[in-house]
C-alpha cells in the first residue's frame, strides 16, 4: 500500500517546479521561480539555499556541479531533480491541476465579464 504524501511547502514546490526544465544554479533557480510564478514569488538567498538544502536532505534534488566542466569563472553549485524529485514534481502538478479544475467553476465566466 502506498502512503499518501503531504503536499510540498510553497518554497519547495516552486523550486521543484523550477527544476523541471533541467539543472540550475541558485541564482537561476531564483529567477526561474519568479518567472513561473509570474513575478509573484521572489525568493531571497536564505530561502533559496535553505529550501535547496532541505530538498537535498529529502533526496528530491542532487548536486551536479562536478559532473560537467563549467565555463563559470566563479564556482557555482548546480542542482537537478532526482528521479524521486521528478515524480514528486509531476504529482504536485497533477494535484494543482485537479485543484484548479475542482475550483474553477467559481471563476466568473469570461463572456459575462
Amino acid at each position: 500500500m502506498t502512503r499518501k504524501r503531504k503536499p510540498l511547502p510553497s518554497a519547495s514546490l516552486h523550486i521543484v517546479l523550477a527544476l523541471l526544465d533541467g539543472e540550475l544554479h541558485g541564482y537561476e533557480v531564483m529567477n526561474r521561480v519568479a518567472e513561473i510564478s509570474n513575478g509573484a514569488v521572489r525568493m531571497g538567498p536564505g530561502t533559496v539555499y535553505g529550501t535547496l538544502n532541505r530538498l537535498l536532505d529529502d533526496g528530491l534534488i542532487e548536486e551536479t556541479t562536478d559532473r560537467v566542466a563549467r565555463a563559470d569563472s566563479e564556482r557555482r553549485r548546480y542542482y537537478q531533480l532526482t528521479a524521486a524529485g521528478r515524480a514528486v514534481a509531476i504529482d504536485e502538478l497533477s494535484r494543482l491541476r485537479r485543484m484548479v479544475q475542482g475550483a474553477s467553476r467559481h471563476l466568473p465566466d469570461p463572456a459575462t465579464t
Binding site: G26, Y27, M30, P45, G46, R76
Partner: protein, 193 residues
C-alpha cells in the same frame, strides 16, 4: 564597506553548519542580484529574507540536534562524580549510601538517555561494546576501592554490594559478548563490501 560585504557580516547570524555550507553561494547570489536590480529593492527583499530565514534555520538546527546525547553525558558525569565522592567519603556510611544511590540513579538515567539517542542515530548496540566493558570495569574498580577503604562491610551493605558486583560483572560479560559480535559483524561486512 560594500553591500555584499555587509551581507557577509549578516550571514554570520545563520547557524554555523548552514553558513559553512552555503554562505559563499548566498553572497554570490546577492552579487548577481545586485547586477540585475536596483540595490534598494534587493535590500528590501533581503531584509525580509534574513528576518524570516535566520530564526527558521536556528529552529531547524535545534530540532535536528540530538538533545538526549547531552543529557546522557550530564548524567554520566554526575554518576561518575558521585561515585568518586563516595569513594573519598567511604568511612561515613550515611553519605556513602546517599552518594552510591545518586551515582546508580544517574548512571541508569545516562544509559537510558544514551539508548534513546542511539535510536535516533541508528547505530547498532554492538558498536557500544567498549562502553559496557569500561562501565563494568570502572564499577568493579570503585567497588574494590570502597571495600578496601571501609574494610569489612557493615551489616546491611553486603547485599547491595553483591548486587553492584554482579551488575558490574554482567556489564563486563555483556561488553565482551557485544565486542565479539561487533567484530564478527565488522568482518562479515568487510568481506561482503
Amino acid at each position: 564597506m560594500n553591500t555584499v560585504a555587509v551581507y557577509r557580516v549578516c550571514l554570520r547570524l545563520y547557524p554555523r553548519r548552514f553558513r559553512d555550507e552555503y554562505a559563499a553561494d548566498m553572497a554570490l547570489l546577492l552579487s548577481d542580484q545586485l547586477q540585475a536590480e536596483p540595490a534598494l529593492r534587493v535590500w528590501g527583499r533581503l531584509a525580509l529574507d534574513l528576518l524570516i530565514t535566520i530564526p527558521n534555520h536556528h529552529l531547524e538546527a535545534h530540532m535536528n540536534r540530538h538533545s538526549t546525547t547531552l543529557v546522557s553525558w550530564v548524567f554520566a558525569l554526575i554518576s561518575g562524580a558521585a561515585a568518586i565522592v563516595a569513594a573519598i567519603l567511604g568511612s561515613v556510611i550515611g553519605w556513602l549510601g546517599i552518594l552510591l544511590a545518586i551515582s546508580a540513579a544517574s548512571g541508569i538515567t545516562a544509559v537510558v538517555a544514551h539508548r534513546q539517542s542511539r535510536l535516533i542515530t541508528g547505530r547498532p548496540a554492538s558498536a557500544n561494546w567498549w562502553k559496557f566493558l569500561a562501565g563494568g570495569a570502572l564499577t568493579l574498580a570503585i567497588l574494590a576501592a570502597v571495600t578496601t577503604r571501609t574494610g569489612e562491610l557493615p551489616t546491611g551493605w553486603w547485599v547491595p554490594s553483591m548486587i553492584v558486583l554482579l551488575a558490574a560483572l554482567g556489564a563486563c560479560v555483556a561488553g565482551a559478548v557485544l565486542g565479539v559480535t561487533h567484530l564478527i559483524k565488522a568482518r562479515s561486512g568487510h568481506l561482503m563490501g
